[in-house]
């Protein structure tokens, strides 16, 4: 990794005058233009819908028209305020425009449009963390209500709004939970590139996601929405204005996902360093590639579906209304055609992180690299052929249930590859149980339970008992929270020392892991029993004989919430208050991202490296020997 291909000098920092910085394109301008756009849209919406010119807009739909336009104008204003229009407008006017924006500014670059992928990665980490926290608080409120078997603490409509916000925020914002912070930050470094293929689009995906999260949160001002994250019709059409927040939120998330995926695919295909062949690509990059393909193919379906739902709600079209010749089945079909790949969009980055980290902490090469890659690609491909298993009891295409049963069960074959690779890598390893390693092992157990419970759901006869019950809820929390969130924390503990040059307090981090792991299982394992005993999802009243177990689950959930506070405290204490310095390569990793200096220079590499092996060059040929510390990098 030493041959010089080209060299690139660092741009000198430029300090612009204070006034120029305040009135320029920044977060303040963005918020002001966003608010202005919101009111402009609201005004136009009422103007067009209250007049006699559009008879198909009924009086009850007037506010929906206004709110949808308000959100759209607000988002456009927000993006213009951030400066997203500057480059295209300058080019249209034939003026010179900077290709790289705000990469040279100090701390201010974190608060606006910045095209440095490392800044975007950090922005994602904090921004997503914020919405993860809000969605987690929703879960705490849901469990508080479920301490009683009848609606007591929270009114039923507010309870449903909480359920919907928790689900939509987790499924929407956390979709980019790994790809946003870690793929944006590390994929270019891991493949030996100086930037992403489309840096401005990269920044756009982040700010779209933030706008989306804010819009979803604003649903509480418009009455919330009663449909859960799935937004099924015709309940969707029946709902009050808060539903429009959900529609705009998810559509923006869809656009963000789609662009993020495109950018990743373009970067990984075209910008790999010399010598980085497909068979040397880090496994994490493979998982990002597989996820990105799913994002690009699935997200447009979501956007189209929501556009139709919005038209049904506003100008009385009838895509999903049986009364007007439409069908709710169409919504279910389209939604799950996005929705099922979506759950693998959440799972695949987790596979990548576990397989990327295990070799470092076992001091062994990744076992079965090709098997792991084919497992991920297999999961990605098959995930488009299973969506109707969400509709086994719906009566839709009942003759096709055996096909979806088969395709769903077949998807556990490539998933099994990942488990074999994990187990192979652990065989005769020299494992050190650092915090990231603990989270990876936690993933292995959780995802195993998630996968095995999935077998009951994929079997149509058994699914008759478990469909729509707490069993399903427990199943997907095991795969998403136990899968994605555990690896999300593994990635945080593993990579934040690289991103910040600071490390976490290890004792607090271990306390976080153990409390989270135990409380997680204590929360979700009993939910399988509750589901099997007949407790439906998304209810605030349930059978009195299930009360005891629900109290147990709620208390465990509070402990789980508390474990997150330990993490938050640790982050603030170690990274901001005490600022514990991290070693240059604390895990003795051989991966490329650990060979560049910390903090990573704006251009990542002084010289583009030439890659001559995969990053898993650990271990000794004979096995047991070898007492020397591994030399870091080439």
């Amino acid at each position: 990794m030493s041959t010089t291909i080209e060299s690139h000098s660092q741009p000198a920092p430029v300090r612009r005058p204070l006034l120029r910085r305040l009135v320029g394109f920044n977060l303040l301008t963005a918020v002001l233009l966003g608010v202005a756009g919101y009111y402009l849209g609201w005004f136009i919406g009422h103007q067009v819908s209250s007049g006699k010119s559009f008879k198909f807009i009924s009086a009850t739909d007037e506010n929906d028209v206004a709110l949808l336009l308000a959100y759209l104008f607000g988002v456009v204003g927000f993006l213009i305020g951030l400066g997203f229009a500057n480059y295209p407008v300058s080019r249209l006017l034939g003026k010179h425009a900077s290709l790289r924006e705000k990469e040279d500014e100090g701390i201010g670059r974190y608060f606006g449009l910045c095209t440095d992928h490392k800044v975007v990665g950090m922005q994602y980490l904090v921004g997503i963390g914020l919405f993860f926290f809000i969605a987690g608080l929703n879960a705490m409120l849901i469990r508080t209500e479920l301490l009683h078997s009848t609606p007591t603490t929270i009114a039923p409509n507010q309870y449903l709004s909480l359920v919907g916000m928790h689900g939509a925020m987790m499924m929407g914002v956390m979709t980019s939970g790994v790809l946003g912070p870690f793929a944006n930050y590390f994929v270019p470094i891991m493949i030996g590139a100086r930037r992403m293929a489309f840096p401005r689009i990269e920044a756009l995906t982040f700010w779209l996601l933030m706008a989306a999260g804010f819009i979803l949160t604003s649903t509480i001002f418009f009455g919330g929405f009663p449909t859960g994250w799935t937004g099924y019709e015709p309940l969707n059409d029946q709902a009050v204005m808060g539903m429009d927040s959900y529609i705009v939120f998810f559509a923006l998330v869809g656009i963000s996902m789609c662009l993020l995926g495109l950018n990743m695919i373009a970067t990984i295909i075209t910008m790999r360093a010399p010598g980085l062949t497909w068979s040397r690509l880090p496994i994490f990059v493979w998982s990002v590639l597989a996820t990105s393909v799913l994002m690009v193919l699935a997200a447009p379906m979501l956007i189209a579906t929501l556009a139709m739902a919005a038209l049904d709600r506003t100008i009385s079209t009838s895509f999903f209304m049986p009364g007007g010749g439409g069908s709710p089945y169409l919504f279910e079909n389209l939604f799950w055609f996005f929705g099922h790949p979506e759950v693998y969009i959440l799972a695949l980055p987790g596979f990548g992180i576990v397989l990327e980290l295990l070799p470092v902490f076992t001091r062994k090469p990744l076992w079965g690299y090709r098997l792991a890659v084919s497992g991920m690609l297999g999961v990605a491909l098959l995930s488009f052929f299973v969506w109707q298993h969400h509709l086994f009891v719906s009566g839709i295409n009942a003759d096709l249930r055996p096909f979806y049963m088969l395709s769903t069960e077949i998807i556990s074959i490539p998933t099994g590859f990942i488990f074999l690779c994990v187990m192979g890598t652990l065989w005769k390893a020299r494992s050190s149980f650092t915090v990231p390693m603990l989270f990876c092992l936690g993933w292995t157990f959780n995802f195993l339970i998630g996968g095995l419970s999935g077998v009951f759901l994929s079997d149509t006869p058994s699914d008759t008992d478990t469909h729509g019950s707490f069993f399903v809820m427990a199943h997907f929390h095991y795969t998403i929270m136990g899968g994605l969130i555990f690896t999300f924390f593994a990635a945080i503990y593993y990579w934040v020392p690289k991103m910040t040059g600071l490390r976490f307090n290890e004792r607090l981090a271990k306390a976080h892991f153990w409390l989270m792991f135990v409380a997680f299982n204590s929360t979700f394992m009993p939910l399988f029993v509750l589901g099997m005993k007949g407790m439906p999802r998304r209810v605030s009243s349930y059978a009195p004989n299930l009360h005891g177990l629900n109290v147990w689950v709620s208390i465990s959930a509070f402990v789980l919430g508390f474990s997150m506070l330990i993490f938050l405290f640790n982050a603030v204490y170690s990274l901001i208050v005490v600022r514990l310095p991290a070693a240059a390569n604390p895990w003795r990793s051989k991966s490329l991202e650990w060979q560049v200096p910390t903090p990573v220079p704006v251009n990542n590499f002084e010289q583009i490296p030439v890659i001559d092996s995969d990053p898993y060059d650990y271990g000794t040929p004979l096995g047991i020997g070898g007492t020397e510390p591994a030399t870091a990098g080439a």
Binding site: G395, E409, F419, M423, R430, S432, T464, G534, R538
Partner: protein, 275 residues
């Protein structure tokens, strides 16, 4: 000290644990698995759930025992910087893994299909189910709306009643439909679940096998009182059912006249918000 044969040790551990645990799971957990033996379909589910659990047990043990074994045995000594063996795979093991998991998975799908096609498994089979159990059927229409289920008996003058009673040992043909949003009719002890869609006739078969009280719930989010959409139904003797339905016909005679004629679906008015 010579390195022990880890592969053999682990295999013995796993096989012994599986041989002990799997029969225990079948004998101890099998009988208490949902949804009980309230109907032919429900008993079928208990068998299916037991089979799946019995197959899942060795898989669970394989990974869990492996993890525990690896965590205990394959450790980095304290303060050590030892490297593991540079093994990058094992073609034979990988091939075997693919073959065995494929056989397991495909046989599960075949088993599920066979069980589904036997008696419909109590799962909503759409307007014209492929599998129609033979024998005389009692037709009952389940009408869902926010937030209750009502039941219509087309063979008894189309009477509509607020609570469900079914005769024992009688094959029942349920026609599930909705008047507004999507609901799901879930008769827990009978092992029946079928979505109630507006403008769709979702047919499901069930044959209750003994007299009992069963729970009826909604299993698809349908608005704020989704959780309260709960009722009890009864399976009674044929004589008791005859008496009951005659009573209902008299009691609701006036209401039955006012109802729209029995139909497989009732096209709802376009839903509008209550604002």
């Amino acid at each position: 000290m010579a390195e022990p044969n880890h592969a053999r040790r682990f295999t013995v551990l796993w096989v012994v644990a599986s041989l002990i645990a799997t029969p225990l799971v079948i004998v101890l957990l099998g009988p208490i698995l949902p949804p009980g033996n309230g109907s032919q379909q429900a008993s079928g589910h208990v068998t299916d759930n037991t089979v799946l659990l019995a197959m899942a047990t060795p898989v669970l043990l394989l990974v869990v025992i492996y993890l525990i074994y690896a965590i205990i045995v394959f450790r980095q000594p304290k303060g050590g910087v030892l490297e593991g063996p540079a093994v990058r795979g094992n073609q034979r093991l990988q091939t075997w893994w693919i073959v065995v998991t494929s056989i397991l998975v495909v046989s599960l799908a075949v088993y599920g299909t066979v069980r589904l096609e036997e008696d419909g498994a109590g799962s909503g089979g759409g307007p014209s189910p492929v599998v129609v159990p033979s024998g005389k059927k009692l037709k009952v229409q389940v009408i869902a709306q926010q937030w209750e289920f009502t039941y219509r008996f087309p063979e008894y003058g189309g009477v509509e009643v607020p609570h469900l009673e079914l005769p024992v040992n009688q094959l029942v043909e349920l026609h599930v439909t909705s008047l507004d949003v999507i609901h799901s009719f879930w008769a827990y002890q009978l092992g029946v679940k079928a979505d109630a869609n507006p403008n769709v006739d979702n047919v499901v078969y069930v044959k209750p096998t003994h007299e009992q009280t069963f729970e009826v719930r909604c299993a698809e989010l349908c608005g704020i009182w989704h959780g309260a959409m709960f009722d009890h139904g009864h399976v009674v003797s044929q004589e008791a059912f005859n008496t009951w339905i005659a009573e209902q016909q008299t009691k609701y005679a006036a209401a039955t006249k006012a109802l729209p004629p029995y139909s497989k679906t009732y096209l709802p008015e376009p839903t509008r918000r209550a604002e």
